[in-house]
Assembly symmetry: C2
Amino acid sequence: MIPTHIEHIGIAVKNLHESIRYYEDVLGLKCYKIEEVKDQKVRTAIFKIGESKIELLETTDPDGPIGRFIKDKGEGVHHIAFAVNNIQEALKEVRAKGVFLVDDKPRKGAEELNIAFLHPRSTHGVLMEFCSDK
Amino acid sequence: MIPTHIEHIGIAVKNLHESIRYYEDVLGLKCYKIEEVKDQKVRTAIFKIGESKIELLETTDPDGPIGRFIKDKGEGVHHIAFAVNNIQEALKEVRAKGVFLVDDKPRKGAEELNIAFLHPRSTHGVLMEFCSDK
């Protein structure tokens, strides 16, 4: 398993609409979708940039993962998602190498992708996600 | 100005060689260069992934920017770098839109790129960098 590219960068923000304004008006990117991911208690605004995406994440619940992240650390990068061809195999492979997983099995993320998080204590402080569309 | 792609993600790490081992042995990426950037008081290990790069950053000085970041926040994503075609114009444009800049003029970063940082108080909590090779 070698990730093919950075699928997206997940960024925790306090206010989705204020942040969208910055990414659109200042950086010139275009938000092509706003989606609620109930499972993760977030609303996400998605921008394409090259082969990658930026996902702004606003919590829908102060006690959800993004709500807690904002409370502890403020706004900022929440996770990096790597595109892999076969997520089941990728998870099996990194688990065999001693990586702790947040998700033992893939679940559905934004845009119907199959996603799973690796635990930051195994990844030198960065919350990492694998993504695949199969 | 619209950034063309994510040029790199800069990740602060405590120990470059331990982190390189994770990115190579677990994620399967290949470190193709280790470079010291004296100006920023870091040694950086660079990996290609798709059209983007990952730059692991280890401080060469406890009081340098990465040393202070690690002290305050621990390991994690330090900045996102966007590739732009013309960095001078990009800086002029965002400054005119009210963005505070860390660097008024481009300076040399890793791999001889022209780089400049935007201030995170203008960018909703994420330290952002523009990069261009011209």
